[in-house]
Symmetry: D2
Subunit: 321 residues, 4 copies
């Protein structure tokens, strides 16, 4: 029998992306879409691509379900859970950043939902903190070196699509401004740095310094990052180390050829490429920020927690062009 | 047991898009990918998004299969079939324009593969001529009126993405030129006009004049068209007529709200909207030129011909953003 | 001695574009930039490209000047002039639509500022109603035929950049929505149709029907239009007629080669191309909506009114790429 | 009297951009446009934006001129000068990279044409090696620190528009591929690194390490770079140092506000912004790769060499949107 699913904050980008994935997922059925601000309207109003796919009406009355996704603005998940008690046996997956640094909350213990590092703990888990988008792209680029204790100082530049900024209208998401434009923001102070370092350090067993410069790109979907560091390892050693680390990961590919962003857009995949010159290595990674960087990874985590095939509902046609 | 599939001309855009769809189709298995010019290389070389999805090596030796897709340059399908005889029981679907105007070829009779008009003939068919991209978008916008004999003269403007021009490098597909640009081409002389009129006239039972101005757009995927005409019908009458005509079509939606191109990108859907002012009606339609306008519709036709669910392998996640 | 200039509504797109042009104009000096909502801030705050070019502080206290540009939201120019009396000898150029259909207002008589038709009246004029952007592109495409009384019914599709929608944040100017997208709006009901018909009919001396379908494009600057109509004239006759009509126009070019939008972006030019098939003609035109479609044409009108070289300050480097 | 100018390699991007600038330059007149491959055709054929601006016919017979620009593929300038002797008194400005690292060639001594460091030597010079585009953007970001001997190791990411790849058709400039895409290329091995280090080290008086990761962006014009480094200087000290260093530079601006690429597109300006967190500084710079990064800087160098106003012909209207 299919499991029931509810989405809190269903009318944002990550919420609507979950609907696109869940609508064709073999093991679940959508029970309700919750939105305080837009209850009473059909989800296909703000997202007409969902016409005929899912035209459920947004509600402000959550129901009991087997699986609950929280797609709320950062820092609102805790409030919501406090005000809307959820049964212990319900799987809760939070796409905000409320439980990424500190997973203990009331009687729940949120597992950090990066399957590349926590797959065993995620299997059967009841509480999952889904990673951030830049955090996913950068960790997947650096984890194999961290696991060997080989990370010291890293210089990373990453560029993100406009969907990363959400659906609210902002000066920096105005088409006239953003089209053909590039800009830096939150230089060295992006909120994902702490999330990244927490994981990297736990593997690396010594300090890691991450100098991260995020850029805004003039495209809607995707994140591309390049991380530069000193290392004495040979290119082939690094590649082997990455191949080994991700041997069981269906959605992470180590590429020996040039990586570009559109290789992964509209998929749940992460592609990583390593280059080396002298004693300097550069590691590129690319993901779709709304999928592997948010809703796709959330589905992957659900699959693991429910003991379903890890790629159920995630065999997505790449947009490619 | 799964049916075997071969693709002739697998390394073009429509061929690679077929692979993306067939890789996850429940009833088929890919037997071979044929390319004369690139045999010996993996399909994931030119299309790295196919890494881990399909890494078959292109061959110049076709095999016997249950289903054969021809993705050759226009006018080369006839030659290929003459030089490479295919068993009578093999389903042949041609994505070129060789059999759209004249379906009889040797001992085969190609059915025009627009399910909205030929669904019965397509069920069990062995030879299918898959429609052109603009031809699909414009016919779906006009057929319900033609069926009532209500088409006279139509003025259509359509804009297409760069994938419509194929993968060859051309001045008009150079990024520097096409980015932020719009231009007209083949004004009043586009090769799809004959294909469109053949179908429209057969329904309309009297002459139809189609003045078609195609434009090149600065995006990769999609076709958007607006067709203007005189009519005495009320808006509600036209909408009802369209709702009725497409009642059985899972991939055609009549929208009462504004249509935009991205509602259909990376899906097999066509969305149609009708507007009226005075005695003038304007009918907008939007499709993904590589899916409903090519490879997606080819899969839909295969499903019909093989008596499978019409949407098998076509529940695609819209790119949406 | 240089003439003094003031801009009312200086912090919108057309206002800021005027500043870019006036900053290097040989015969004028900027006296004040008026903005009620943003007085006290430097114009280079919202428009950092103006840093070092013009860093004047916006004021809410207009001064007496020789030349006054009104860049207010439509319908606010009349109010402003009533509340802020301007000396008779001041040249007033309104970029809104307040005086386009009816030029008489208080003791002023606004001349319609399309130099292609009103050049003599514009020379020495004290009140000028600057045309709309689509209105400019479409009139320049049709006027030579109207002058010969040869216009009957015209079917026009036009696509506009996002700057046409102004700087306010709207769902249809959100980058995530507009990127790679096309959509129709104000189908058959665009506010410029009346403005266009008023001029065309006055030339044509009989009714003209204009069926206009405007589209939103995924670029920031520019308008491209295609107008389809029946005509018995030969292509060469039409081209000659256009060459003759625009013989004295420095900013209108009749092209025998394919026209594309970027030929005119960041210039004050309009390029027109005529194509013909059977008894149907299609006339394409392209302009930069903020220049020939707004602020550039306003400078051209100022030059004419002040008896300066028509192209003073308008020898602009095309962006080209 | 106006000076005569010839352009060798006039039909490439940098050559055509020179024409756009020279057409309205107050002190020069174009004598000839040289192209071996396209002689006999009008320059307005490949560049229709030049219609009415410059319709000179390309020739394969160079003439004697006062000023000669070489816009040849890298490494062809030396050959050309050997085969086509130029009078000593002719000013030769090479936009290729033939004389950037080694300026002595036959009886000429090419001055490196970055006005920010060589202004005095450029005044009256007869031979100028115009800098590379990335080289300009990165040097302008780092020179003030180098002059104080404060550069050690720098980690730079830069993103460039498609015009940087020239007009030849390549897989990585195909619109379908590049639209919405980002990719890395020549990681740590870009040919401009040597050019940059030669200058930086001559100022810094000790080794500088530059780890440079270039990216391809999905826009046509512009370069944006971010350079990260360790430093004990306070932000205000660095800003002051930059203000002082560029006090006499009309085209370099130190911004205390966020920099974005479109602030400089279609101008000869470079905007630099400095940010600091802990002991790490990040320096952003933005230029138009075809102007400050190529043809605009070449005009600036011409102005200096000819003792004209430094900004003659360079008061360009920013595209801004």
């Amino acid at each position: 029998m299919k499991k029931t699913v509810g989405i809190i904050g269903a009318n944002g980008y990550t919420g609507s992306e979950l609907i696109r994935l869940l609508a064709f997922h073999p093991h679940v059925t959508l029970s309700f879409l919750y939105s305080r601000s837009n209850s009473g309207t059909s989800i296909s109003d703000p997202y007409p691509d969902l016409t005929t796919v899912c035209e459920m009406v947004l509600t402000d009355k959550p129901e009991e379900v087997d699986i609950l996704f929280l797609c709320l603005p950062h820092k609102e998940s805790q409030n919501w859970l406090t005000q809307n008690p959820v049964k212990d046996e319900t799987l809760v997956i939070d796409l905000g950043n409320d439980f990424r640094l500190e997973g203990n909350f009331e009687n729940r213990n949120f597992i950090y939902g990066l399957p590349g590092i926590n797959k065993k703990q995620l299997m059967g888990a009841k509480s999952i903190a889904n990673p951030g988008c830049f955090a996913t792209a950068i960790q997947l680029a650096l984890l194999p070196l961290a696991e060997k204790g080989m990370l010291n100082e890293v210089f990373t530049t990453g560029i993100t699509g406009s969907t990363g900024a959400g659906q609210s209208l902002q000066a920096t998401t105005h088409f006239t401004w953003r089209n053909d434009n590039v800009s830096a923001y939150k230089t060295l102070t992006h909120q994902h740095v702490d999330e990244i370092l927490k994981q990297l350090v736990s593997f690396n067993n010594k300090e890691v310094i991450l100098n991260f410069v995020p850029w805004r790109g003039d495209f809607a979907r995707g994140i591309f990052t390049s991380s530069t560091m000193k290392t004495d390892l040979e290119l082939e050693e690094i590649e082997q180390l990455y191949q080994d680390f991700y041997a069981e990961e269906p959605f992470v590919t180590i590429s020996r050829k040039a990586v570009d962003l559109k290789q992964v857009v509209n998929t749940n995949r992460c592609v990583v490429q390593i280059e080396k010159s002298g004693n300097v290595a550069v590691i590129h990674s690319a993901i779709d920020n709304l999928l592997k960087g948010a809703s796709g990874q959330a589905i992957q985590n659900m699959n693991l927690a429910m003991s379903w095939e890890e790629n159920a509902g995630l065999n997505l046609k790449p947009v490619a062009f």
